[in-house]
Assembly symmetry: C2
Homo-oligomer: 336 residues x 2
Amino acid sequence: LDKVGIFMKVEILKALKESPQQYVSGQQLSRLLGVSRTAVWKYISELRQEGYQIESSSRKGYKLITSPDNLSAEEVLVNLHTSFLGKEIRYYETVSSTNNVAKEAAARGCMEGTVIIADRQESGKGRLGRHWVSPPKSGIWMSIVLRPKILPMQAPFITLLAAVAVSKAIEEIAQIKPGIKWPNDIVIHKKKVCGILTEISAEMEQVNYLVVGIGINVNFDISNFPDHIRETATSIKAETGTYVNRVELIVSLLEKFECLYSKAFDEKLRPQLMEEYKAYSVTLGNRVRAVSMNHAIEGYAEDITNDGELMIRTDDGKLHKIISGEVSVRGMYGYV
Amino acid sequence: LDKVGIFMKVEILKALKESPQQYVSGQQLSRLLGVSRTAVWKYISELRQEGYQIESSSRKGYKLITSPDNLSAEEVLVNLHTSFLGKEIRYYETVSSTNNVAKEAAARGCMEGTVIIADRQESGKGRLGRHWVSPPKSGIWMSIVLRPKILPMQAPFITLLAAVAVSKAIEEIAQIKPGIKWPNDIVIHKKKVCGILTEISAEMEQVNYLVVGIGINVNFDISNFPDHIRETATSIKAETGTYVNRVELIVSLLEKFECLYSKAFDEKLRPQLMEEYKAYSVTLGNRVRAVSMNHAIEGYAEDITNDGELMIRTDDGKLHKIISGEVSVRGMYGYV
């Protein structure tokens, strides 16, 4: 990981973006970064290779024409305003799964807020070991490493907050309000556009680290997918008809998640955070079927507690608390 | 890992032990194992190097004189009667910590019940990242990989069962009844002889694996230890005056743990398992002080629930449920 190189390129991009459609001289950049003009030229070459269109003139300097829709660490970092989340971004063209890479990084002690992003996952994972289809370069496949000082049983709440952050980011960038299917599927028009897989390493009394894996179907054409996937999944572009800049969506998501996460450990703020979650819920108020390890119930999704548990009222009037498992919502994912 | 070699040596040892103080011919062993007499001789040589005293006579064959007090996989396997726990044992002379080795093995997909044993830990770990002193060759430093199909929040119960298994094994082999200081310290004469560090890898809805790390102070002389350790820790030998065969203790522990673990997921058996736990408790009925993340309470340890939570009655009559954290018991570990 070339941390210096990424830092230099981010600073150059910032300087170029601050003077839109204008030249910034090589001397100015050289002074700004404290490196030679030859070094500046080297970083500019690297940026060009990464897809940035940068005009140069030996007299006037450099001018940024266009940025690529690439998931480079630089492109996210240039635009990101957070205090810790995503301050270290590791971009990979191809990984087995971003969660696997993140777990390894976490086990080796990477800093809290480290983000793993890939353009391609060879074996993307859904919950409970399921396969997750990750078409290259048209989705967001990322994992976030967190180190909250909490008990393992408090971890699911962080996953709910991640779902809220994704929903808010989609609403802001794609200008469509998605829904959250309890606990953490994000849906548009009753089909899944995002799944979240949180993995945890912990002692009984303390979380070592959490890896929050987020997969968002952004720009791909869903019509090429097998029937069984098309029935339940979609992409943002397929539903809105509009191409979405993935970097903008990532930046928005990280900023919103950091804001929510920073409030997560104040018990007093929990009801407010859960209200934000409930405002996106497509489960509440609907007929649902919950299947857990060894039984199934059907009923009406009446409430979600401040710990994130789903309260289901069965037809006999009894209230059931669901802490995990599969919950189908009538009218979604083929449950009629 | 030479699985074939371990298997062959275990079979040879079993055959020799079935004919105590008698010769077993090389031909007989060769037929039994389906390998040449030269191969038999090679395994016998390896066993000798591992400390087994085996007499040989070209006419009569081989006779086992003594087994070493070594923590070899063979020596445990020869004596072990379990269905899955410890069927794969990986012995190391030196490791960083057995939990670290076990976590790596688990992440790579080792079978449930795999046991990691080491004679020496370079950086043994206690709970919450604390250091654990592991004198070489005189303690039991082992970790067990489990893959129960449970929710992460159900994992602490397995740790309580491990504490019961250790207590029963010590009682059987060292013939002294230890106590369990909630949740899972094992004490003799109010000093700690065993600590258990369980680590978990999980999704929100499913445990990937548990690593139950067990450190038992068996035969070492505690008088060489620094004061602050001697005040709270001891070894079995220091308290009983008797040398304990570590292999016997491991075998007993694994057999007892498998028996308890196999009952752990039957809700109906839980009260009975908790009764077994409570019978060893040195916390119940005593004055205790509980310190958790952000508050402390003092009171009387009134009960332990079937989920393993400690119920403390404070002097104002209120009952508090403690799910984790440090709980000091008056009269132990320097709490007066």
